[in-house]
Structures are given as C-alpha cells and as structure tokens.
C-alpha cells in the first residue's frame, strides 16, 4: 500500500524537524530514509505512523487521508530501535497482543503466533520473557508483533541501530529476504549509507528537515543531485571545484599534460585496497583509492612525487545545497 506525504512541516520550538517535505513511497517497495542525525528522518517516520502530529501538510496511506487519524487506526506496524518489548509478557503474549486487542478467536491467535514465530525464526522461544532473549531475537520478536495485525505498511526506526556489527549484518540480509517473502510496503530509517544501499530498493536522502534526493542505490551513487548527497552516500575528495570519488582518481609516475603534481603524504593498507593521502603543490589535500596491485606496480611510498588525474568528476553549483524537486 502506498504512502504519500504532502508539504509536511513539523517544528519543535525553534527547531524545524520537517520543512515542507513531500515524498511518495510506492506500494510494495522497500524504502530507506537516509540522513545524518537531526535530519528529520525519524520524525517523518513517526508522522506516517501517527505518533507525531504535523504543524502543516497531509499524510495519505493507501490513497486515503490519514492526517487526523490516531496511530490505532492507521494500519501501520512500527518497530523501535530499542525493541519496545512488553517486558512483563512472554514472547507469545507479545506477538499476540495486537490480535487480542482486535478480539480474534483464540484458535486463530494461536495459529497465527506460531506461524509468525516460524517466519522470524524464533520457534521454541514462545514462553520466554524478552529479558531472556538476545538483542537480535528481541528485534525479530518486535517485528513479528508488528506483522501480526497485518499492517498495510511496516515502519522501522533504526531497527538495527542497537545491535552489534555482526548481528546487524545478518539481520539486514534477513530483512531483505523477509520483504521478498511478505511484500508489505516497508520504510526504514537509518544513518548508515551502506545499510541503506544494501537493503533498500529506494533511498530517500534527507538533510536538515528537507529531502535532498530520491532514487535507487546505484542512481544516488553515480548521479548525486548535489554535493551533500555525493558526500553522504560514498567517499568523496575535492580537486579544486571538482568532486571526485577516491577510486576515480588515477595515479601515475609520469606527467601527461592533464595531470597535477602531488606528494604522497601517507599510505594506508586495508587488505585489498590501498588508500593514499596526497598533497597538491598548492597545499590542497586529497585522497586516492587504489587496488593493492596498482599500488605495488607504482611502487608507492610516502614522500614520493606522483601525478594525478581524475577519470570521473562532478561539479555542483553552490546553490546545490538546496533541495531538488521530488
């Protein structure tokens, strides 16, 4: 079911969390809201859920106006960063909560809970309390709980933010597979560009209460609309007015007319890649990223003089800090 947010504005005192934001989430998509902290991404998600009210603007879910509806009547599933598990209830009771509220028959609740625990790979833990589960298990329980009531959209607020790196990696892949299975329109908030790129098929980049760009992961990386997006979705280095990805900077031993002279200041070996910190003649610093083979062939060493030339660059007008059309 699609979500449509129109001209949404939300202020907290002097702080504008959402500044005239409009965005559409197509039915069945897996969308990431990506941005630094304070960019308004969580506020936007909470506005869709009805947990936060709007100062101006409208929210439509599945073509129906939901702006004035309380969270109970929006048909959304919401997953919190810190799980929001009902600590005094067992896993089974947690997952069954929404179904009990909806007064489903007991046999149906039982069957549905079993099915969901199977789906989130927690069968056999139904009678445990949340305190007896690991972080990853608690978050999967929270997900099962929100899916129980068959929401038309699933909203996740930094769902993996409280988990350690390895579990986070597992759950990302798992969420992707789950979405392919369940097909419910899903929106998740993250400040991690890698997470957004890996899991989502659409990314909404936010900054300072506005939307900077909307697009697919590859689209954003290769055709960023402005300097902010370019810097946020991947590494970036500057060569005068030009923005360059460090892997698009060619390093040579000999000049060839179009190259600039630079000195290798420091080399960092990161397994298969080598990162070189360079200083140009005018004192400007930039970074190059090379494969180990290339670095060995060039016999790079710190203090050495090299010649660099960008193979791909982008240039943004200063006004590019403003929001593009959505």
């Amino acid at each position: 079911m699609s979500i449509l947010v129109r001209d949404a504005t939300r202020r907290f005192g002097d702080f504008t969390a959402l500044d005239d934001v409009s965005v559409e989430v197509p039915s069945g998509s897996l969308t990431a809201l990506l941005g630094p902290s304070g960019s308004g991404k969580s506020t936007l998600l909470r506005v869709v859920a009805g947990l936060e009210r709007l100062d101006a603007g409208a929210v439509e879910i599945d073509g129906r106006d939901a702006t004035g509806l309380p969270p109970q009547r929006r048909g959304v599933g919401f997953v919190f960063q810190h799980y929001a598990a009902f600590k005094h209830m067992t896993v089974r009771e947690n997952v069954a909560f929404g179904l009990k509220v909806a007064r489903r028959p007991r046999a149906e609740i039982r069957a549905r809970v079993e099915e969901l625990l199977e789906l989130v790979q927690l069968p056999g833990l139904a009678d445990r309390y949340p305190a007896q589960l690991s972080g990853g298990q608690r978050q999967r329980m929270a997900l099962a709980r929100s899916l129980a009531v068959q929401p038309s959209v699933l909203l996740l607020d930094e769902p993996f933010g409280a988990l350690d790196a390895r579990v986070r990696q597992e759950l990302r892949a798992w969420l992707r597979r789950l979405h392919d299975e369940v097909h419910v329109t899903t929106v998740f908030v993250t400040h991690d560009q890698e997470e957004a790129m890996e899991v989502a098929d659409r990314i909404v980049v936010m900054n300072a209460g506005r939307i900077e760009q909307v697009g697919g992961p590859r689209d954003l990386y290769e055709h960023p609309a402005n300097a902010f997006v370019m810097g946020f979705v991947g590494p970036v280095t500057r060569l005068g007015e030009l923005f360059v990805r460090p892997h698009d900077l060619q390093v040579r031993r000999q000049p060839n007319g179009t190259t600039a002279e630079a000195m290798v200041e420091r080399l960092v070996h990161l397994g298969f890649e080598v990162r070189a910190d360079l200083v140009l003649g005018d004192g400007q610093r930039l970074q190059a990223q090379l494969s180990r083979e290339d670095a060995e062939e060039l016999e790079l060493a710190s203090g050495q003089i090299v010649f660099v030339r960008p193979s791909r660059t982008r240039q943004f007008a200063e006004a590019a800090a403003g929001p593009p059309g959505v």
Binding site: A49, G50, L51, P70, P71, Q72, R74, V76, G77, F78, F80, H82, A84, A85, F86, K87, H88, F97, G98, V101, A102, Y129, A131, Q132, A142, R145, S146, A148, V149
Partner: protein, 193 residues
C-alpha cells in the same frame, strides 16, 4: 504522569510544590486545610451548603494524609516511569490498543513495583502521621481518632497502660509494613532488571 512526560510552563513549580510536605511541618498543612475547607474557609462554606463536612471528619483526615504522603508516591514512581519511557506505550497504540488499554496493560505493569513501593511507604507514613491529622480530625474519640492520636490522648490522660498497648500495636503494624517493603526490591531483582 503529567510531571514526567510533558514539558510546560510551571512544571518546575509543580515539581517543587509536590515536595512541599517534606519541608513544612504537618501541623502547618493541617492548618492550611482548615483554612481552605473549614466552615469559614474558601471552599468549606460552599461544601457545607451541600451537606459535606470535610474538617473534623473522615474526608479531612484522608485529605491530610494524602497530601502529606503524596511526595513519597511521586518520587518513587517518577524515576521508574522515566526509565520505562513512552515507546512501549506507543508500540501498543500502533497495535490498535486504546490509550487506556495501553496504560493498563503495558505501562502500569511496567511501573508496578514503583507504585507498590510508593504505596507501602505511604502506608508507613500514614500510620505514623500526627501533625496534620491532629488539626483536621477534631479528635472525636472513637470517631475521627487515629491510632497515633489515641496514643497521645491516653498519654495525656495518664493512662500509661493504654498508651503502651496502642503504641505496641502501632509499632508492630509499622514493622509489618516495612517488612513488606523489603520484600519488594527482591521481586524487582528477580525480574532481571
């Protein structure tokens, strides 16, 4: 609830007022209640016209006790409520639960030990309360006399046996309440928090 969850003008003032009974003598509180609810008081006259007598009767005594023990409950429950946060309640809302249901089935169970602890402290405080109650009760023997007031009454009348007997009862009751209180934190630990 209001104190923890909402930010509003005068919040700090309300916060301070709640602690007032800690700082001022219970006798003063009793006098203040007489001033407001007494025959000649601000509200007393209006209530008396409707046949409700507050001062020198049970409502007044309850009011005095509530007022004196309010900070104990608030100071016990507020930190627990703050720690629990609002997310569990919000989760319940998105699952379709009404605000009342979310409070009763999710928030209240989560803060139940804080509330229980506050109630026990209140009971302990109420048993021993003398100052405020002595003013508003009127001390009508056998009617509006608390056990503590009775002890003082017997003592004044040189009935030492009676005073000692009542005191002993009071001490045993207090001990039981405090024993109940020590049991609560052990429950809290059992839940693994």
């Amino acid at each position: 609830m209001v104190l923890v969850r909402h930010r509003f003008r005068g919040r700090r003032l309300l916060d301070a007022v709640i602690d007032l009974p800690f700082a001022i003598s219970p006798v003063v509180i009793g006098l203040a209640l007489v001033l407001v609810y007494g025959q000649a008081g601000w509200l007393g006259g209006w209530l008396a016209e409707r046949g409700i007598q507050v001062i020198f009767s049970l409502p007044g005594m309850v009011l005095a006790t509530v007022f004196v023990s309010l900070p104990y409950v608030v100071r016990e429950v507020a930190p627990v409520l703050r720690e629990v946060g609002t997310e569990q309640e919000e989760a319940a809302w998105t699952l379709g639960a009404s605000p009342l249901r979310a409070f009763l089935q999710v928030t209240l169970p989560a803060i139940r030990w804080g509330v229980a602890y506050g109630v026990v402290l209140t009971t302990a405080r109420a048993l021993g309360e003398f100052g405020a109650v002595t003013i508003v009760s009127g001390r009508l023997a056998g009617q509006t006399e608390t056990l503590t007031l009775y002890v003082e009454d017997r003592f004044e009348a040189f009935d030492l046996t009676g005073a000692y007997a009542a005191s002993l009862t009071l001490a045993v009751l207090a001990l039981l309440v405090l024993l109940a209180m020590t049991r609560l934190p052990s429950h809290r630990r059992k839940e693994g928090r």
